[in-house]
């Protein structure tokens, strides 16, 4: 009996899959990549969740993967999506019947650079591009590329924050509202079940 409980304790400790009500998934474009974040709640990440990336129009599966320990899955913008220009549907299956999806609009990734540029964006370089007029060697598209990459990198946390805001859990307002609904419905039932007074 003791060994059974020991086994149980070990099994519970080793078990990482969390039981929850629902999974959250959201994705954003960072440079040439799309980052998918999967979580059960603010602190609890989805590990080893199966992520499938589908073409939202044709329904064709473009690529598949699993999330890492931080609940992240990162993939480069698929070339097929660039060609077809359709949105990407990201489907997360976290097991035990938990599933959710997120749509990345085509316009978000169409102007992403084709390859991870990994630009050397030190503050000095930034200051230089901002202050000195573009040297003749620097073409307009070069500047656009550098500024675009820099803006992407700077705005990514803000974008992420905005998306995360949408994934809030139940608030007091909804909880109280739900209880109110229950008592309201019972009130209706009581009305119909009440014996008419003679």
């Amino acid at each position: 009996m003791r060994s059974f409980f020991l086994f149980l304790a070990l099994a519970l400790l080793g078990q990482t899959s969390a039981q929850a009500h629902r999974v959250n998934v959201f994705a954003y474009v960072e440079g040439a990549d799309i980052v998918v974040e999967c979580s059960y709640s603010k602190s609890k990440r989805v590990r080893n969740g199966a992520v499938a990336v589908l073409d939202a129009v044709s329904g064709e599966t473009l690529l598949k993967g699993t999330t890492d320990d931080q609940g992240l899955f990162r993939f480069p913008v698929p070339p097929q999506a660039r060609l077809s220009g359709s949105d990407l549907r990201i489907l997360l299956q976290a097991g035990e019947g938990h599933q959710n999806e997120w749509i990345v609009a085509a316009k978000e990734f169409m102007d992403a650079p084709p390859l991870s540029p990994a630009p050397d964006l030190t503050p000095a370089a930034e200051a230089k591009t901002a202050q000195t007029p573009p040297a003749p060697a620097l073409s307009r598209s070069d500047v656009e590329e550098v500024v675009g990459a820099l803006l992407d990198a700077r705005l990514a946390p803000i974008k992420r924050e905005l998306l995360e805001q949408r994934q809030r859990g139940p608030e007091l307002r909804e909880i109280i509202g739900g209880i109110g609904w229950i008592f309201g419905l019972v009130g209706v039932a009581a009305y119909f079940k009440s014996r008419p007074r003679v």
């Binding site: 519970l12 990482t16 039981q19 009500h21 599933q99 609904w181 019972v186």
Partner: protein, 208 residues
């Protein structure tokens, strides 16, 4: 325990919906006018219970309270759970509207079943009743896990894996719910025996 939208096949969704409607119909027919408030209070408890998390190691699970509803309400647990789950899906986005029937049946049926099976023991006051109440609470959670795994049997995950994961995650919940059910039943049988149908009929003669 809430299965998400888009996981199950239409056949299972339809079956779950039909069974939930049947159970709810029986529950509503057996529902007494005098017990409406009890149903409301317990439906509200079920609605909020899912927000209470029990931390266990790296994982955590939430209360279900279906066993408690089964013990106190009997068949009326069906409409109570259905309404609470519907509000959870609308307000919290837990589960989903099309899976409502499956989720409601998965949680309500084991509760009603374990109450029906253990009812003779619940009539006896004292330790027998306490043990029976504990079993009602624990078995209802186990049964809900089993039915959820059975619903997932035709998905990628398969029955065995889903059942294993669900069972392991819910062992602490089973214990906690067993204790909650025992305490509630023993408290109510002392203070308000008329709320418990079985305690009432034990103390005050059989009741239809």
């Amino acid at each position: 325990m809430h299965i998400s939208e888009g996981v199950l096949s239409p056949a299972i969704l339809g079956l779950g919906a039909a069974l939930a409607v049947g159970g709810t119909a029986i529950g509503l027919r057996r529902l007494d006018y005098d017990r409406l408030m009890t149903v409301a209070i317990l439906a509200a408890a079920f609605f909020v219970g899912s927000l209470i998390h029990i931390p266990i190691g790296p994982s955590s699970a939430h209360l279900i309270l279906n066993g408690l509803l089964g013990v106190i309400l009997g068949w009326a647990a069906f409409p109570a759970i259905l309404v609470a789950l519907m509000l959870q899906s609308v307000l919290f986005q837990y589960g989903g509207f099309t899976v409502l029937g499956v989720n409601a049946f998965n949680m309500a049926f084991p509760a009603v079943l374990s109450f029906a099976l253990l009812r003779p023991f619940l009539y006896r006051p004292g330790r027998v009743r306490a043990v029976a109440a504990f079993c009602c609470g624990a078995l209802s959670v186990a049964g809900a896990g089993l039915l959820t795994a059975a619903s997932l049997a035709f998905t990628d995950q398969g029955f065995t894996q889903a059942a294993q994961l669900l069972f392991l995650a819910h062992v602490p919940v089973m214990i906690v719910e067993g204790i909650v059910t025992t305490l509630t039943v023993s408290f109510l049988s002392r203070v308000r025996p008329e709320i418990l149908g079985f305690a009432h009929s034990f103390e005050g003669g059989p009741r239809a």
